[in-house]
Amino acid sequence: MKFIVTSSELQKALTKISGVVPSKSTLPILENILFDLTKNTLKLSATDLEVSMSATIEVKGAEDGKIAVPAKRLMETIRALPDIQLVFHADLSANRIKMITETGEYVLMGEASDEFPTIPQFKAEEKLSLSGDLLRRMINRMIFAVSTDELRPAMTGMLLQVRETELRAVVTDGHRLVRINYTGIGKMKLKKDIIVPAKAMSLVSRSAEEGENTMAVDTTHVQFTFGNTTLTSRVIEEAYPNYEAVIPLDNDKKLTVSRDLLLAAVRRVALYSSSTTHQIRCTLKKNELRVSAEDMDFGGEAKEKVVCDYSAEDMEIGFNSTYLIDILSHIDSDEVEFRLSSAVRAAIVTPAKQKPNEDLLMLVMPMRLNV
């Protein structure tokens, strides 16, 4: 196997797929990247058995072949090289790889390509075109609220509900929930609910390209294609909890407040909250929101007033400041709207003005005060 490639081209392709490579695995072969050369096309593949990624680049091919190359050492070497041409030569009988530059020579040992797991063959039922902007925006708004609890596997992924003219994404960790609806993205034949692992969605967000990207689904896998890069992930075959039942429809106390002012106030006051509970207290009076916290252990306390638009009855409600900061940080409108019911019921947070074709809703559970 032999080809010539520029180090920057190779690095670009490797960077795209290297996120899949597990840093430590019980299967050492997974710590490799598969190089597959056919004429002038080099296909690079990596997998952790759940998520697989492939990228193709054009090279000057001299001799076809396949070999698994240790990802870490290869990445470190390529990263340390200037932007130069290098000759990649692999002796497939001995699994010996040689990379030759104008001034140097790097030899590393690879693994036979047949040791590398087969990337799942994908038979797409339907395809859906999505812009890279939409994918990145959707994932970055919500990935923070995915559960890490392995006992609830469904909640460790992102629920994607594809309907005729709507794409809906939902995540929750049992304390927070984020739901985004997108409309106006064309008419789709696909009608499907799938749960995609959080790792795959993070990689999609990193890899999505400007312009159109596609998402295809079969019974057990989902595949995203971004230009010359493909990501295939196993879907989580579990029932997603009935999240709609959690979203209250009768929260009648409306609070509108500047997102930046509130976020800054919560961040400052949270410094004085208990390091155990991170609890802050929000006291609501007519057009006034007071955010306060006290740390019983160290005797500190803090309070801030934030001007707001609120005309319902006075109330006090406690939140985990970390949850509230997460939520406010992931809304990008000038003003946010809270819809509240009581100090023990879920609070709904939305941008005061939604983006066109987007409906973003976040839900956060309050905490008991004085704990």
């Binding site: 609830r152 049992g174 509970t277 023990v344 905490m367």
Partner: protein, 343 residues
């Protein structure tokens, strides 16, 4: 509170905000925890309102944060902490729980499970005062048949008293094993309303077989009750008494070899090779060996010889001979058998 008292509370669904299940009968503990979860949190809400954590893997503050959160979907949240004793090693963790216990959230049921609670130390001293403690200890022999009958009733059928006694004789007092066998019997009897002794014999007698290795292990541990139970099952299952004697002779020969101090000083692999067992079992055999004096071993060989002679040359009930043999092997006195043979 006993598990029985807890069951009465469970009928009224009047669970305390904080409960601690402890004791050796993990089947009852699991059932108790499941009872609270199923009574309090609807199936559809469990994704949101049920947190199950392992005390060895989480921080105390995370547990308190879960417990202090209001339920997201239903009226109540349940937080289950397994291996609770591993969570509360630090002073901070103890203080956190003391603080939560002084004012637990009424919409949360915090269910703690501990196999080794130390009620002389915090937070167990606090739990003693402020939580519902449910002790799940193994049932006594005489309680097991009625437990079986009650269990069968709960599962929608009746069990003949003799069937309950027989099931206990076959399976022992392990409630988990009994439950497993009951599930098989239920499939076997189909629509029949009552479990009869012959159903137990057909299902359990056929499926739950013991090997001579299990017998030699309980003899090695000097557990007469379990030894006689396993022996009974083996004979009922049709295993040959002569073959059992051959295997027990081999076992005592191994123990005899292990009593040689010179051999015991050798490397483990060599000892295992010398006595003809896998090195994996060596530690267990060494432990058995230290419980048998040379005199005890000599008497064991006498008893094995006497039992073999009695089986081959007399019309004595083989069952009786084998019972006497097992008693002799454990007690170290060969007389019950040798008196009958003159050896």
């Amino acid at each position: 509170m006993t598990y029985g008292e807890f069951q009465q509370i469970a009928q009224k669904k009047a669970f305390a905000p904080v409960s601690l299940f402890y004791g050796e009968e993990d089947f009852l503990i699991e059932e108790g925890v499941r009872t609270i979860v199923e009574s309090v949190v609807d199936v559809s809400a469990r994704g949101f309102d049920l947190d199950v954590v392992d005390g060895s893997k989480v921080e105390a503050r995370d547990v308190i944060a879960h417990a202090s959160s209001f339920p997201m979907m239903g009226a109540k949240r349940v937080v289950v902490v397994k291996e609770f004793e591993k969570l509360v090693g630090s002073e901070t963790a103890k203080e956190l729980f003391a603080s939560y216990l002084s004012n637990p959230l009424s919409s949360t049921h915090l269910v703690l499970v501990s196999s080794e609670p130390d009620f002389r130390r915090k937070p167990f001293t606090d739990l003693k005062k402020k939580a519902e403690l449910i002790e799940c200890k193994p049932l006594y022999d005489n309680q097991v048949p009625s437990w079986i009958a009650q269990r069968v009733r709960l599962m929608g059928k009746e069990a003949h008293p003799e069937a309950c006694r027989l099931l206990q004789a076959y399976v022992g007092n392990s409630l988990r094993s009994i439950q497993n066998e009951l599930e098989k019997i239920f499939i076997f009897i189909g629509d029949k309303k009552e479990i009869m002794p012959e159903d137990v014999t057909s299902v359990v007698g056929a499926t739950k077989g013991f090997t001579v290795f299990e017998l030699q292990n309980v003899v090695g541990r000097k557990d007469p009750k379990e030894s006689l139970r396993i022996l009974e099952r083996m004979i009922v299952a049709g295993q040959s008494p002569q073959m059992i004697i051959v295997m027990l002779t081999r076992f005592f020969t191994q123990l005899w070899k292990l009593s040689d101090p010179k051999l015991r000083r050798s490397p483990e692999a060599e000892i295992a090779r010398e006595i003809g067992i896998s090195p994996y079992f060596l530690k267990q055999h060494l432990a058995f060996s230290s419980g048998f004096s040379v005199e005890h071993l000599e008497n064991a060989f006498k008893a094995l010889l006497a039992a073999d002679t009695l089986l081959k040359s007399t019309s004595l009930d083989p069952h009786l001979v084998m019972d006497l043999l097992v008693v002799s092997l454990i007690s170290g006195t060969a007389e019950p058998l040798t008196n009958r043979t003159g050896i």
